[in-house]
């Protein structure tokens, strides 16, 4: 039987002698939504980039027993919104079709099937009526849904999302969360960077809490504890108890 875990062993990344992240190890089961949380500068994006093999790192990463290079077509990536040039001349349907690019051989054009797959993904995120719009004309939440559609069109097994919930409307958030849950039920695995601490329990099954080093990883109820959060956020977060609800006020 194939290996069921994403394993990260002693992962470290250094920039010019500065440590960005050090000795991070965790193991996440297939079919879960994993939140990667920590304060600004904790190395969340670095961790994700190292896992994707975009950053030189020490240690070992394996996806269901595979090296990243054998998994690339099966990994979808949703970028942070501020890393995209929203004036770029592409329309919504062009962006979603990019999710099919790695499946199309270089000598072929995008087939009708590829286009249908992209269209279906767009319908799923409720953005089909915007397919002819230039991407910069959409709201933040709509843009995020389009990029999620691109990831869906890719037919991936693993999803990496960088801050998908920043600056989006309630409806988009709801649609995205529903799709993530649906993907989990189909056995897909998701890693999601999330920088504030609100709604952590609503979004994720598992957490990786870090601040350069791993603070704690595991089920949300085990990791989302005042002591660990204090350790990760140090003085930058106040933690209040409101009945059973825990509220964390970020910096």
């Amino acid at each position: 039987m194939a290996e069921q875990f994403v394993n990260v062993d002693n992962l470290s990344v250094h920039y010019y002698g500065q440590t960005a992240i050090r000795d991070i190890s965790f193991s996440m089961k297939k079919g879960t939504i994993v939140g990667v949380i920590g304060p600004n500068g904790a190395g969340k994006s670095t961790l994700m980039k190292a896992m994707l093999g975009l950053e030189k790192f020490g240690g070992r990463v394996s996806f269901f027993g595979n090296n990243i290079n054998n998994m690339r077509k099966k990994i979808a990536y949703v970028p942070q919104r501020n890393s995209i040039d929203w004036d770029f001349p592409v329309r919504v349907d062009d962006v979603v079709l990019m999710g099919r690019f790695m499946h199309i051989p270089w000598y072929k054009r995008a087939s009708k099937k590829d286009r249908e797959r992209a269209k279906a993904a767009l319908v799923k995120v409720g953005m089909e009526s915007y397919s002819n719009r230039q991407i910069g004309e959409l709201s933040g939440g709509q843009q995020q849904r389009v990029f999620l559609a691109r990831a869906l069109a890719q037919d991936a097994d693993l999803f990496f999302l960088d801050e998908p919930f920043v600056g989006i409307d309630v409806r988009s958030e709801e649609i995205i969360v529903n799709i993530l849950h649906q993907l989990r039920n189909e056995g897909k695995t998701m890693f999601i960077i999330h920088h504030d601490l609100s709604k952590v329990e609503k979004y994720f099954d598992q957490l990786v809490l870090l601040n350069q080093v791993l603070i704690q990883a595991g089920a949300v109820e085990d990791v989302y504890q005042p002591s660990f959060l204090k350790e990760a956020y140090q003085g930058n977060a106040a933690i209040l108890k409101e009945g059973n609800e825990m509220v964390v006020v970020g910096p």
Partner: protein
């Protein structure tokens, strides 16, 4: 005006050198327009300027040793691109500064070499500003070869080029060799610069790279359409620029660039969606009073 056009057509039919010039100018308009779109969207306008200036010493050396100026230019163009990458990756110097250092150094080297060779057949003025009317049959073949190569490369690698220009991180994550794509574009850029040497010259190549593409950028929301429009504006600039230069006996390269600039200015104000005039008209009165 009609008489001028008739005279231009008459000359065109009777003088083969003018036919060569027109063909070369059209080809340059197309390939500069197409490569220019990538240069604009990847924020590499300064790089375009750099590579075009950096080919100068290569051209001079090629003249000195009697080799094809094409080879010399491509070598120094690519070397400069590599050197810029090397400097910015191995020091705290940012890329734009590295570009500033390298291209002026290369250009100065070229100028020193030319002035040292005074009295030979190397004509600085022609290299710097082009002389499309001196395009030989061989030059035309070289330009055609470059044109076909560049267009074919872009056609074949359209998807990787688009993805890596739009979302570099995803491109890397899906395993595309993003660095190689960058250097491939630099190579194409050197080719295009060389092909444009005689038409518009080193100094003005960057205008043919940036201006038609920028105009197209104001008019469309699709990358494929932008490529097409940019090439179209390149052709229009080439043909009408050559026309003005023949009729009024002025520099061909500069006329071509002026036409491209005029088209840009027109659409800067009157493009349906992005044009300034229509943006003003769309602004509600209330808001404009506040500002």
């Amino acid at each position: 005006m009609i008489a001028n056009i008739e005279s231009f057509i008459f000359q065109l039919m009777n003088y083969p050198y003018l036919q060569n010039a027109l063909l070369a100018a059209i080809l340059v308009g197309i390939i500069c327009g197409v490569i220019g779109c990538f240069i604009i969207l990847r924020g590499m306008a300064l790089m375009g300027d750099a590579i075009s200036h950096a080919v100068l010493p290569g051209v001079v050396i090629a003249y000195m040793v009697g080799a094809s100026f094409f080879i010399g230019a491509v070598i120094t163009g690519v070397l400069t691109a590599l050197a810029i990458g090397f400097i910015s990756q191995n020091s705290r110097i940012k890329e734009d500064s590295a570009i500033g250092i390298m291209f002026t150094a290369m250009f100065a080297l070229g100028v020193v070499m030319i002035t040292a060779l005074q009295g030979t057949s190397v004509d600085l003025w022609h290299i710097l500003f082009g002389n499309v009317l001196a395009v030989s049959q061989t030059d035309l073949y070289i330009t055609m070869g470059i044109g076909i190569f560049v267009l074919l490369t872009i056609f074949v690698f359209y998807r990787p080029l688009l993805l890596s220009s739009f979302d570099e991180t995803m491109a890397k994550a899906t395993g595309l060799p993003v660095k190689w794509i960058h250097y491939m574009l630099m190579l194409l850029l050197s080719f295009v610069t060389v092909a444009s040497l005689q038409t518009v010259g080193i100094i003005l190549v960057v205008a043919m790279l940036i201006t038609p593409g920028a105009t197209a950028y104001l008019l469309t929301e699709r990358f494929s359409v932008m490529l097409f429009l940019s090439a179209l504006f390149g052709i229009i600039s080439a043909v009408s620029g050559l026309f003005w230069s023949v009729i009024y006996d002025v520099s061909s390269g500069a006329s071509i660039v002026l036409v491209a600039s005029a088209i840009f200015i027109f659409f800067f104000f009157f493009a349906p969606k992005q044009g300034l005039v229509f943006k003003w008209l769309r602004t509600p009165k209330r808001e404009s009073k506040i500002s």
